[in-house]
């Protein structure tokens, strides 16, 4: 279980606003973070990961405190063991695909898992490629695999599919679904594509101006006219 109760002052395009999130995530949840751009969705992921620090509040994961402004606790991003896939490609250009994956290994990780991931994500043919040789979809597939090498319990996806075409999205969604299930992950995925969220998540938080304004199942929250054709 993850409990989040944080406050962060954010600069938006239309002035400052407060990100104020007080939510609980159950283990195994796949949560869609939905809303317009510039409302604090990415900031929420960055605060959870430790890339940014809240102004105040508390983040607790299982029984471990990641952040507590009252007791001045802030576990650095390196020790939070999170999987994170960014919107844009952040594979290391100086390494091949395999080197990128191996870079994520720490001493306690098993090579076996790496082989398994290569298998599940169907990366065998790409291993010796340089990252600039990959297509957008292949890059995000490698990014997803790299994010999972260290066996994180929490996976954060920041619009990882937004730059891909429709067909590629469909395939990547399958990979994400498979990864979430196989590794019993708790996943948060930012997206403003209702269709994508409907396919993947079991809960949706709709965020506006830094606050969760509605939450529920995808059917309850996401725009209904979307389902006319289903």
């Amino acid at each position: 279980m993850i409990s989040i109760n944080i406050h962060k002052r954010l600069k938006g395009t239309q002035g400052n606003f407060d990100l104020q999130i007080d939510e609980i995530i159950s283990e195994g949840d796949f949560i869609g973070v939905y809303g317009k751009s510039g409302t604090g969705k990415t900031s929420l992921l960055r605060l959870l990961s430790g890339l940014d620090i809240p102004n105040e509040g508390c983040i607790k994961v299982a029984e471990r405190v990641w952040y507590d402004s009252g007791n001045k606790i802030n576990i650095p991003v390196q020790q939070r063991n999170i999987g994170y896939v960014f919107q844009e490609d952040v594979l290391f250009p100086n390494m091949t695909v395999l080197q990128n994956l191996r870079f994520a290994l720490s001493k306690s990780n098993e090579i076996k898992l790496l082989d398994e991931l290569i298998d599940i994500m169907e990366l065998k043919e790409l291993l010796d490629f340089n990252t600039y040789q990959l297509s957008g979809g292949q890059k995000q597939r490698v990014s997803l695999a790299r994010a999972l090498v260290s066996q994180p319990k929490l996976l954060l996806l920041d619009e990882p599919l937004s730059a891909l075409d429709y067909e590629m999205r469909q395939r990547l969604q399958d990979y994400i679904k498979k990864a979430h299930k196989t590794y019993k992950l708790t996943t948060l995925m930012v997206s403003h594509d209702p269709w994508e969220l409907y396919q993947l998540v079991n809960k949706v938080w709709e965020i506006d101006e830094g606050k969760v304004i509605r939450k529920g199942t995808p059917r309850q929250i996401l725009p209904l006219d979307l389902y006319k054709n289903i």
């Binding site: 890339l51 390196q78 994170y84 952040v90 100086n94 870079f103």
Partner: protein, 231 residues
């Protein structure tokens, strides 16, 4: 061949030695310094940048003058070195190296700093998320992707040190076989109206500098294409 037999190569060798040593030491100092400044969030960052950039705007003679005072065995620091360690930096090759390090510092630091700053911000964040420390991130991710910037810093430092004149003359005093580098012997030959000798050194310096730059730029061109494909 007569030309070569009677020719004193020492100033050119000293110039090369000085440029090489300065470049090697500066790359070791310059990389961590550039990293510190590139990612500094301190409000004093402009002050540090200005300090490092000072040699760009100061007349070399000003730097030379203060080094002369600093190294002089008659005062403070130089006196201390002389009394305790029996080291005299003024009019010595070591003194030249130290002065060159400061004089060429911005030529090493600024290109590397720019290179590091131009990398996508997410690149080092991605490395942190994978559990890597700042040091590991710098070594395995940031520096390998800044090869061109580092190479540029090294070329500029090397070339700039070859071209030093004011500082080396003030600090080194142009002592034959010790601190008399090519640029200072040219000046002396010109002053003595010995144009032929001055011309020989000048032409050789011109040629050497050109060859070095062509060699390194063609090398960096390969590196550049490597980086272009990567980014």
């Amino acid at each position: 061949m007569l030309f070569l037999n009677s020719f004193n190569w020492m100033p050119l060798l000293l110039t090369g030695k000085l440029a090489l040593i300065t470049t090697l030491i500066l790359v070791i100092i310059g990389v961590p310094l550039a990293y510190k400044i590139a990612f500094s969030k301190s409000r004093f960052k402009p002050v540090f940048e200005a300090l490092i950039g000072m040699p760009l705007v100061l007349p070399p003679t000003v730097i030379g003058f203060y080094f002369l005072l600093l190294f002089s065995p008659a005062y403070g620091f130089g006196k201390y070195l002389k009394n305790i360690f029996d080291i005299q930096l003024v009019f010595s090759f070591s003194g030249l190296v130290i002065a060159s390090l400061l004089y060429s510092l911005p030529f090493m630091v600024q290109p590397i700093q720019n290179g590091l700053q131009s990398l996508p911000k997410n690149l080092h964040e991605a490395s942190y998320i994978l559990g890597k420390s700042k040091w590991q991130t710098l070594w395995y991710v940031l520096l390998p992707n800044s090869k061109k910037a580092i190479l540029t810093g090294m070329v500029l430092t090397f070339a700039h040190t070859i071209g030093e004149f004011g500082v080396v003359l003030m600090v080194g005093g142009s002592i034959p076989n010790k601190t008399q580098v090519a640029s200072s012997i040219i000046y002396e030959h010109v002053e003595a109206l010995n144009y032929e000798a001055a011309h020989k050194y000048s032409a050789i310096l011109l040629l050497i500098s050109f060859v070095i730059l062509v060699a390194v730029y063609s090398l960096s061109k390969n590196n550049m294409s490597f980086l272009r494909r990567n980014n």
